[in-house]
Symmetry: C2
Subunit: 287 residues, 2 copies
C-alpha cells in the first residue's frame, strides 16, 4: 500500500511530490511526463518569486529536470475513480487498481461539468478510458469526445476496434485521418439512454445513435472521481490545511478555487504534503 | 492613502509585492533591503519548485534582483503599531505615520511572546524604536534587548544618549565595544514598574534599576502590533483567503502557522494579494 497517491502533475502536484520524496515516502504519482500543459503554454510568468519573467515552457522544463534529478517516478495513467476503503483508498488508474493510505487531488480546474447524462450513464456506455473499455465496443458505433491532442492515440485505438467513431474535439488541428472516424464540428449537447447509452444529441439538435461514448478529458470532474467529495461549483472544498471533507483525502491547486495562480498552487501543494505527512505519522502511531 | 501596506520582506511579503506591482497598486512595503535573514541563512532548499537544490543566500539574491528589476520600493522602517481607522489603517513605521486602505502582515514567526510586563509598559518606558524614543532617555540608565546583529547600530545610537546601557542579546558575536555599554549573559525575566518602567529582573533573580527598556526584535508580536487581532498562540488566525478577523487586514507566511515552509509562504502571499485586490476593487465600486 502506498503512503500517498498524487493525482495531477501541475504545480501543486509537483510541489507535493518534492516534499514526499524528501521525507522518503512511498508514493504513486499519476499524470503526464509533460507535466502541466497550462504552465507549458503560459507566455510569461512575472510573479513567481525567485524566477524573474520566466516563460512557461522554460519553467516547465525546470520542473521536469528537478523531478528527474530527485529521481521521482511518474505513472502516466488517467485516474478515473477513487473509492474510500476505510483505511485508505482504492484508485483506478488506467486498467489497474492501486491502494494508498492518503490521496492528494491536484487536478487543475476541470472546467467541464460533464455532459448532461454523462454522470448517470458512466459505466453504462459512458467511459473515460479507451484502453480499459474499448474492447466492449468492437464493431459498434461509438462517439468520442477528445479534449486534448494528447489523447488522439486513444481515438486511433478505438477506431481500430469500433465500426464507426463519431469524433468531437475542443481544438481544431486534428491529426486523425482514418476512414471510419467522422469528425463533427458541432458539440455534444446530451448523452441519452435509459439503462445504457443509445444516442447522443448535438448542439444543433441532430440525434446520432451510438452504443458508447468515450469522454477523453485531462481530468475527471472531482465529484465524479470520488463520490461524496464536497465541492462548490467546479471547486473542491478544503480548509486551510488542504483537507477535504473525506478523511485522508486532500486537494491543492486550481481545483480548490481562485486565484488560479502558479504560486498559490505550489504553496497549497506544500501545505497539503505537510498535512498528509502529519496524518501519516498519526496513522503510524495508531498501528 | 496607500492601496496596501505590506509588513515584512520574507517570501510571503515578496510574493505579495510582485502581484501588487503587476496590478499597478500604490503600496508601501516595510522591511529590510536584505529581505529575509531566515532565507539567507538556509543552507540548502530542496523543495522549492523550479529551483533545484538552491542555497538560501542564492535564492535571497534572486529575490533582491527580482525586486530591483520590477522597480519595487522598500521602506526600511520597523512597524510598531497599526490602528484601524474605519476606512483603513494608520501604520506607525519608525517615526512616521502612513495611511493605507489594506494591510498585509507577513511578519514571519515572532517566536517571542514578549517579556512579562512588556505589553503593559509599552509606551511607558518600553519602546521598540531607538530613533523614535531614544531622546527620552538622555543621561539615563536603560536596558536594551537586541535580538539581531542588524540592530547593533541602534544600540550604538542609544549608547550615545543614555548614561548607561545594560545590553542583552540572543546571539554571541556581539561587535559592540563602548565603555557605557555593559553586556549581560543572563536573560531578561521580567520588566517591572507601576506607571512606568523602574527595573528589570534577570533570569538569575538579579534586579537592575532602569528607566527604560528598548526591545529590538525583527518584528513586534502580532497581538501587540494590532489590538484585537485574533491569534492562536504565536500565530495569526486566517481563513483560506488569508483574511484575519479584522476587515482589510490580511496575513501570510510563517506568522499564520505551520508548516514553516518557503513555498507555503510564497503561496499564501500570492493568495493574500489577490484577496486584497478583490477587496480593493469592491471598495472602489462603493466609492
Amino acid at each position: 500500500m502506498y503512503d500517498a497517491a498524487i493525482v495531477g502533475t501541475g504545480p501543486a502536484g509537483i510541489s507535493a511530490a518534492l516534499n514526499f520524496k524528501l521525507h522518503k515516502k512511498n508514493i504513486i504519482w499519476f499524470g503526464s511526463k509533460e507535466l502541466s500543459t497550462k504552465v507549458e503554454k503560459s507566455e510569461k510568468i512575472a510573479n513567481y518569486p525567485g524566477l524573474s519573467m520566466i516563460s512557461g515552457s522554460e519553467l516547465n522544463a525546470r520542473f521536469v529536470k528537478q523531478i528527474e534529478e530527485m529521481d521521482i517516478e511518474l505513472t502516466e495513467k488517467l485516474v478515473t475513480g477513487i473509492t474510500p476503503t476505510g483505511n485508505g483508498f482504492m484508485v483506478l488508474g488506467g486498467n489497474d487498481i492501486y491502494e494508498t493510505k492518503t490521496i492528494l487531488l491536484a487536478l487543475g480546474v476541470v472546467s467541464a461539468k460533464g455532459f448532461p447524462g454523462e454522470k448517470k450513464l458512466l459505466g453504462h456506455g459512458v467511459s473515460y478510458c479507451a484502453s480499459c473499455d474499448g474492447f466492449l465496443y468492437k464493431d459498434k458505433k461509438i462517439a468520442v469526445f477528445c479534449a486534448d491532442k494528447r489523447f488522439e492515440h486513444e481515438v486511433e485505438f478505438l477506431a481500430e476496434l469500433a465500426e464507426k467513431v463519431c469524433l468531437f474535439t475542443t481544438y481544431k488541428d486534428i491529426e486523425i485521418n482514418i476512414p471510419n472516424v467522422m469528425h463533427f464540428n458541432q458539440s455534444i449537447k446530451e448523452i441519452c439512454g435509459q439503462d445504457s447509452v443509445n444516442k447522443i444529441i448535438l448542439s444543433d439538435g441532430t440525434e446520432i445513435s451510438v452504443e458508447g461514448v468515450f469522454v477523453l478529458r485531462n481530468a475527471v470532474a472531482p465529484s465524479i472521481l470520488l463520490k461524496g467529495l464536497k465541492t462548490d461549483g467546479p471547486h473542491i472544498v478544503v480548509n486551510k490545511n488542504m483537507e477535504t471533507n473525506i478523511k485522508g483525502c486532500y486537494a491543492a491547486g486550481d481545483c480548490t478555487g481562485r486565484p488560479y495562480q502558479l504560486t498559490k498552487s505550489t504553496g497549497e501543494g506544500n501545505i497539503a504534503a505537510h498535512s498528509m505527512l502529519e496524518y501519516l505519522s498519526e496513522l503510524g502511531k495508531q498501528a
